[in-house]
C-alpha cells in the first residue's frame, strides 16, 4: 500500500493522473447536482412551516459541510506536508483553501438569504452562521500567510502550521460560539438539518452533498495541478511537459 502512497506523492505522477481524472469527476458532479436539484426543487414537498423557502437548504447545508470538509483536507495535508516534507501536500492545502473559502462564503450568503424570510433579518448571530464566519476568517488568514512570502516553500510551511493551530482551535471556537449563542438567544431552529426531516426532503440533500463532494474532488485536483506547476516550474518533468504539445 505504501508504494501507492509514494507514487501518488510524486508531482508528475499526480499531475498526469489528475489530467485524466478531473473531467470524469467534473461531469459526474454536474449530473448528480442536477439530479439533486430536480429532487430538491421540484419533487420534495414544501415544508409545513417554511413552505418553499426551505429549499435553500439544498445549497446551504452542502456548502457549509464542504467548507468544513475542505478545512479538514487542509489540516491533514498540512500535517503530511510538515511531517514527511512532501511538497505535493502543501500544494493540496494551497489548492483547497480558495475552494473552502468559496464554500464558506456561499454558506453565509445562502444562510442569510434563508434567514430573511424566516427571521426577518439578513443576519442572525446564530451559532452555526457565526462559526461559519470565523471559519471564513481562518481561510482568509491562511491565504494571506501562504502568499506573503517570496520563498513559496516557507509560505507553504508557515501556513501549514497556521492550519494545524486553526484546526485545534476550530472545535473550541465552535463550542464557545454555541455556548455564547444559547446564552443570549434560544437555539434558532434551522429546520431540516436534523435527520428527522421527511425522506422526500432528505434524499435530495444527500444527493446534493455527494454532488458537492465530487465537485470539490474535481476542481481541487485542477487547482493542485496549477499549484504544482507554480512550484515545479523549473523541474525537468515540467520542461518535458511543455515541450510535447
Amino acid at each position: 500500500m505504501f508504494t501507492w502512497f509514494h507514487k501518488l506523492a510524486s508531482p508528475p505522477y499526480f499531475y498526469l493522473l489528475a489530467e485524466r481524472l478531473v473531467p470524469w469527476f467534473a461531469w459526474a458532479s454536474l449530473l448528480i447536482i442536477l439530479a439533486g436539484l430536480y429532487g430538491g426543487l421540484w419533487l420534495a414537498p414544501p415544508d409545513y412551516q417554511q413552505g418553499d423557502g426551505f429549499r435553500i437548504i439544498y445549497i446551504h447545508v452542502p456548502s457549509a459541510w464542504m467548507s468544513m470538509f475542505a478545512y479538514a483536507v487542509m489540516a491533514v495535508a498540512a500535517a503530511i506536508g510538515l511531517i514527511w516534507r512532501m511538497k505535493l501536500a502543501h500544494a493540496v492545502s494551497a489548492a483547497a483553501a480558495p475552494l473552502g473559502a468559496s464554500f464558506a462564503f456561499l454558506a453565509l450568503v445562502t444562510g442569510s438569504l434563508w434567514g430573511k424570510p424566516m427571521w426577518g433579518t439578513y443576519w442572525v448571530w446564530d451559532a452555526r452562521l457565526t462559526s461559519e464566519l470565523i471559519l471564513l476568517f481562518l481561510y482568509v488568514g491562511y491565504i494571506a500567510l501562504n502568499q506573503a512570502f517570496e520563498d513559496q516553500r516557507t509560505g507553504d510551511r508557515a501556513s501549514a502550521i497556521l492550519t494545524l493551530v486553526g484546526s485545534v482551535n476550530l472545535p473550541i471556537i465552535h463550542y464557545s460560539v454555541q455556548w455564547w449563542n444559547t446564552l443570549h438567544q434560544g437555539p434558532t431552529v434551522f429546520v431540516g438539518t436534523g435527520s428527522d426531516i421527511a425522506p422526500g426532503m432528505l434524499v435530495p440533500l444527500l444527493v446534493m452533498i455527494a454532488g458537492f463532494m465530487l465537485y470539490f474532488a474535481a476542481f481541487v485536483m485542477k487547482r493542485i495541478q496549477v499549484e504544482v506547476l507554480r512550484r515545479e516550474r523549473n523541474t525537468n518533468w515540467v520542461q518535458e511537459l511543455i515541450d510535447k504539445p
Binding site: G141, L145, T154, A158, I161, L164, V165, W180
Partner: protein, 221 residues
C-alpha cells in the same frame, strides 16, 4: 541555569526598552476612553458595555505589541544561536512569551480596574475582572506569539499578524467578557472562569510547539 540567564536577559532587554512597555498600556487606555465618547456618557449603558469594551481593548492592546516579539533576535542572529543551543526551543519560546506577558499583559491587568471605573463597572466585581484578565491575557500573548513566530521573516509582519490571530482569540474573548459581565451582575462566575483556565492550560502546553515550529520554518528560509 541557562534558562535563568535567558529570562534575566529578556527582562533586562525589556527594561532597557521601557518605551515598548508603554505602547500597549497607552493604547489600552485610549481605546477604552473612546467608547464613552462614541456611545454616550450615560452610566447604565456604559456599565452593561464595560466588560466587552475592556476585553476588546485588552485583546487589541495585547496584539499590537506582539509583532516585534522575535524580530530583533531574528535580525541579529540570536535566534539561530538559540536554535543550535541544547536548550529546547519550545521552552525558550515559552519563557520569552511569559516574560513578554509580564512586560505587556500584566500592566494591562493592573490598569484594568482604573479603566473599568471610567465605565462605571461595579467596584465589587473588580476582583473578578482582574481574575478573568489574569487568565485570559496570557492566552492572547501565547496566540500572538504563534503569529509573531510565523511572520518573523516578513518585513511588515505587523499588518498580517492580527488577521491570522484574531479568529483564534474568539473563545477567550467570549468567556472573558462573559465572566466579567456575570461578575458585574453579582452572579456566579465559576463556569466561564474554569473554561478560561482550561484554555490557558491548553495554550501553555500546545502553543510553544507551534511557536517553535514557526520559528524553525522562518529560520530555514
Amino acid at each position: 541555569m541557562k534558562l535563568a540567564a535567558l529570562v534575566r536577559r529578556d527582562l533586562l532587554l525589556a527594561y532597557r526598552r521601557r518605551g515598548d512597555v508603554a505602547t500597549p498600556v497607552i493604547f489600552f487606555v485610549m481605546v477604552t476612553a473612546l467608547f464613552p465618547l462614541a456611545l454616550s456618557p450615560e452610566p447604565a449603558l456604559l456599565r452593561t458595555l464595560a466588560p466587552g469594551v475592556i476585553w476588546v481593548a485588552a485583546l487589541l492592546a495585547g496584539l499590537i505589541g506582539q509583532g516585534s516579539l522575535f524580530k530583533s533576535d531574528y535580525e541579529d542572529g540570536t535566534l539561530e544561536q538559540l536554535l543550535l543551543s541544547p536548550v529546547s526551543l519550545e521552552l525558550v519560546a515559552l519563557l520569552r512569551v511569559l516574560t513578554h506577558w509580564l512586560v505587556t499583559g500584566l500592566p494591562l491587568v493592573i490598569l484594568s480596574p482604573l479603566m473599568a471605573m471610567l465605565l462605571f463597572y461595579p467596584a465589587s466585581a473588580m476582583g473578578m475582572l482582574i481574575a478573568s484578565l489574569l487568565l485570559g491575557t496570557p492566552v492572547l500573548s501565547l496566540l500572538g506569539a504563534v503569529g509573531a513566530a510565523l511572520t518573523v521573516g516578513l518585513r511588515r509582519s505587523g499588518l498580517l499578524l492580527p488577521i491570522l490571530i484574531l479568529p483564534l482569540t474568539v473563545p477567550v474573548l467570549i468567556f472573558g467578557a462573559r465572566a466579567t459581565a456575570l461578575a458585574s451582575q453579582g452572579e456566579p462566575v465559576a463556569a466561564p472562569l474554569y473554561l478560561l483556565a482550561a484554555m490557558l492550560v491548553l495554550a501553555l502546553t500546545l502553543a510553544p510547539f507551534a511557536i517553535a515550529a514557526g520559528l524553525r520554518v522562518s529560520l530555514e528560509s
